[in-house]
Symmetry: C3
Subunit: 308 residues, 3 copies
């Protein structure tokens, strides 16, 4: 009964067999559980930049269903990455171009007016577990929107940590609400500054303005801090975690209808403009279909070359 | 007429005799007025930790009625504490246990769907006066929610200043909206970090991330700054103070219905769970019914012992 | 069609001839365009403090119509000031007094329940272009509200930069929503602190707490940074700029009805109180009708003299 009070649970979800995954599995998420903490390592072996493509999306969707169904044993989820250069990549830009094919539905089956990737991130904010991102490497576009959808964000001071909403440079907007979450964390003026300019931010500056919670000098300190924090929260009754999350979310998340209307639906229109279509084709060519290289590594600095 | 425009005034309140206190008086609040500034010293002589028990609640309720009725002579209210270790304690945990008795009603008489302690803090945010907290000593749980309900918060850098929302460790949530106010002040990510972990924060870190306005090296500097600030604001026409407060509150407070549904009502359910009941009994035993000692002094550090 | 999706455009506006200015022109805004960036220099030659009087308001209204109608060539607007002591002054206080005359209507013709100056600032937030303020000199009252209505704010560390909402000292509230924008940028507690006290803030402190985006040691660095930033954003497709702005505004601006009810309408009532009328007359006399001098230069420090 508490469950029904504290978070919406789809009846369809409850009917799902615990063992059957709803979507195809691609093995891009490695999970391990210890004393109430699930560690999830993101490792998209189909991409050199940990692209947020349908492989990752499909595995994330299955993971979310597992977590929704288990709100007692697992109390904290920690996301880290096996790719030291890319915590998580941007969306597969082919998604916006003609001829794109994916095994995933266009819309979430339980939130019919939310597209599949947008609903993924929304569902992460809704999890009864506390969620923590351990950031080493880049996260731009929906990669950063994924970070903003977690409850907490900690990073190492490594120069490989570069965060950005890069959509405006494509003629797009952050369609899963990343700019809205950022406006809450860093203020309206700084959200405009970084998002309109599609500018990269490093870990120290990000911690200073509130984009992430804290920065640590070394990878060791980062992981040690997060594991201690996760173990502490995992001591507490899960209903208290879910109840506290519900309160904070109620005032700090973009309301669902605003997210749909002023982020998701706008990107749907913008993606079809000739400017965005042309830029996407140019970007895919220049990055050798989103492979690791100068442009993916230093997009914030090098994007200007694409406008010459 | 201005009064009616700027803030809601209960007709019942207006009918109240100015001299009769509505609730029992216990002398836990010492007040003195100077040139438009009321100084209120919190001193719960029934508790070594300045517990937010029915004595303090009853006196606060009477004080609030006095302030609501006097929106011209008194323009600024400054709260400080006579207990150098505890600015204000958490709620009396017996409140959640069977057999608890209090002379106070369960709900506020003028806001029928708000419980008495939640309405107390809400009413503080509604006062026509500017409210300032001078923090020396700890404030956890509803003690910190009281701070968040004041307009401004200044602290000394004394190690005795430790602030926290400790509810999650009890299997509860901050039921009077403390986590919601915090999410506005320190951002969503940091609110999750401190509140989900029931972690203490010291005064310097609190000032750095915006939990409090400023920190001062010494108690003398703290009090001098606040008295100067209070005297300055008290020069200004009271209608300007009330009008400015109405605007800031309209965008920065949790909306009343959200506060009730996503904070107050959730704690009402969570308090009855077996986990929270058992932990409360354990806590009361370990603290010798909430008396000063290692656990009350350093709850953030020592709470882990309660889970062994 | 995109235009209709991304921002409201008045049909009446579309019918306006591109060459005819709707309001009288006074030459207080000097504009120049380069590669998608319009630089606007505020220079109210009718006032030694760059007063936000009807001259500036009339020219701003015409500028806004030009920008609304041109959402492709001009992608970024940079506001700076020709008056090194005053980026932009407060409102002409005569506006609140009997006998005031102006060529401008009381309400905006397209937003009938918004007064003319409030609608001016609202319309700036609605522009399809990115807007950046380059702050050298003071901006108090509606001058600071103008800053808050821009997307971004950068300042030099010059001691001539002093920002404030000074309305409470007049018995007023920030009627165009300045305190509401500030509460989002600097938090609830600090918004109360600065606005209730009508306190000046310097550029370095303002950058530290998020009132402005950044501060630069010299005027040269300030201008160089902003021109580089503006040129970068101006590379991007205008629909992406407008779409991103729509998302951030949807969660970080005061909602229009709240702005009208809890800022604009309250100041309308407060301005008519005897206290505010008397203080306004006193202020106009003490400043020689708002001329440059000790009181206008250092209002935050010297306002106390007006209460002796």
């Amino acid at each position: 009964m508490l469950r029904g009070i504290l978070r919406p649970v789809s009846l369809a979800l409850l009917a799902l067999s615990a063992t059957a995954a709803r979507y195809p599995s691609f093995g891009t998420l490695q999970t391990s559980n210890t004393s109430g903490v699930m560690n999830v390592v993101i490792n998209n072996t189909y991409s050199s930049i940990n692209l947020f493509d349908f492989h990752v999306q499909s595995d994330l969707a299955n993971l979310i269903e597992t977590l929704q169904a288990n709100d007692t044993d697992i109390r904290v989820v920690v996301f880290s990455s096996a790719n030291k250069d890319f915590f998580l990549g941007h969306i597969d830009i082919n998604f916006f171009l003609p001829g794109y094919e994916s095994p995933l539905p266009q819309f979430d089956p339980f939130i019919p007016n939310m597209t599949f990737p947008v609903a993924l991130l929304w569902n992460i904010t809704q999890l009864p577990q506390a969620t923590i991102a351990v950031i080493e490497g880049r996260a731009r576009g929906i990669g950063n929107e994924f970070l903003m959808s977690c409850d907490m964000r900690f990073a190492s001071a490594s120069p490989s940590v570069l965060l950005a909403q890069l959509e405006t440079s494509f003629g797009l907007n952050p369609g899963a609400g990343g700019a809205m979450y950022l406006a809450h964390e860093i203020g309206r003026g700084r959200a405009f500054e970084y998002v309109l300019a599609s500018q990269d931010i490093d870990a120290r500056t990000a911690a200073q303005i509130g984009w992430i919670n804290r920065v640590f000098d070394t990878s060791q300190e980062l992981h040690a801090h997060v594991q201690t924090l996760a173990a502490r929260i995992a001591l507490f009754p899960p209903a208290g975690i879910a109840g506290t999350k519900a309160g904070i979310n109620a005032v700090s998340r973009p309301p669902m209808d605003v997210l749909i209307e002023k982020a998701q639906n706008i990107i749907g229109v913008l993606a079809q403009t000739p400017e965005t279509q042309a830029f996407s084709v140019k970007f895919i060519a220049a990055t050798h279909n989103q492979s690791i290289g100068p442009l993916e590594l230093n997009y914030g600095e090098k994007l200007i070359e694409l406008f010459k």
